[in-house]
Symmetry: C2
Subunit: 186 residues, 2 copies
């Protein structure tokens, strides 16, 4: 997420933050405007499609950020890749213990907007693909790598939910220990 940038970029960044904390329905323009310092009329100037467009762009931007991080994951063997993955996402899940969450997951709720689900599906798919590629490069058979990558992304998203409820990283750490041990003992 760009820390500097024009009004438009700041609005997208503020939308990502609002999505993580309050979801689509709970995100208000008032909040985005306040956090980005933009004026009310700027919304429909930069996003003619209104809330749906802003939300879709925010989810896509957040998805691309995470994808970039996953694609650059180090690790010469499967356990090393998984450990690197877990280490990379732990701080993100930690934000969920303080009311954060996954912005991409947030846009899947609501259900009436099919386009938003497509944006989220594309993001999740790109994450799985990137992680699967890293696992395959570390020696996991192609078919297994894809399934394992999807499983790890599911654990990540589930940990967001559980840790936000528990206000603790304990569920994440339990899942991390378990999956690491299972792969190591394979």
């Amino acid at each position: 997420m760009t820390v500097v940038g024009g009004t438009r970029d700041r609005m997208v960044g503020a939308a990502v933050s609002a999505l993580q904390r309050h979801g689509v329905a709970g995100m208000s323009f008032t909040e985005v405007l306040r956090d980005s310092g933009a004026a009310r009329g700027a919304i429909y100037h930069h996003f003619p499609g209104g809330k749906a467009q802003l939300v879709a762009e925010a989810a896509a931007a957040n998805g691309a950020d995470v994808h970039a991080n996953l694609a650059g994951l180090p690790g010469a063997d499967p356990v090393a890749v998984i450990t690197a993955f877990l280490t990379a996402v732990r701080p993100v899940v930690d934000a969920s213990t303080r009311g954060g969450g996954c912005a991409v997951a947030a846009v899947t709720v609501g259900g009436e907007d099919e386009d938003l689900c497509a944006v989220a599906a594309a993001a999740f798919g790109s994450w799985s693909a990137a992680l699967g590629q890293r696992l395959a490069a570390a020696g996991v058979p192609e078919a297994e790598a894809a399934d394992l990558a999807t499983t790890l992304i599911a654990i990540l998203e589930g940990a967001h939910v559980l840790c936000r409820a528990a206000r603790s990283l304990d569920p994440f750490d339990r899942a991390a220990r378990t999956i690491t041990a299972l792969i190591a003992d394979r």
Copy 2:
């Protein structure tokens, strides 16, 4: 969820359904009233605490339902318990592919309401405990059983998110295959 019952029970049931599809902020009394057939004034008659109380009761009721199902899971060995778990939750996740979702997970978003997170945390904790007990009874060491149960609940919640985005059970089936194989090969 009771299919018959008084006005109050029907309202709670309608709230669970609304929570699954639209989340807390997206759930409106208008929708709950329509689906339950209740009158507008019935809300504050039965739920003096307003929306917060109705939502909390709906999440708790849904949590108790799921807990009852998990506590009765069959299986003489670890793989059998996990298979029974996955078979039991598959139809629930299938509802997510058509816009559903987990009502308990839904109440964790928003963040400002600490009580709602506590309700969700209690529900998730009871699910993990019930599943962990079944795994322990099937021969998994106590400490491992608790971690594995939490991991399975995380996978369940993550699968809800991924399958709702993808409009497909494919992510769930991949994760189910993976975790089953990892436990079987242990």
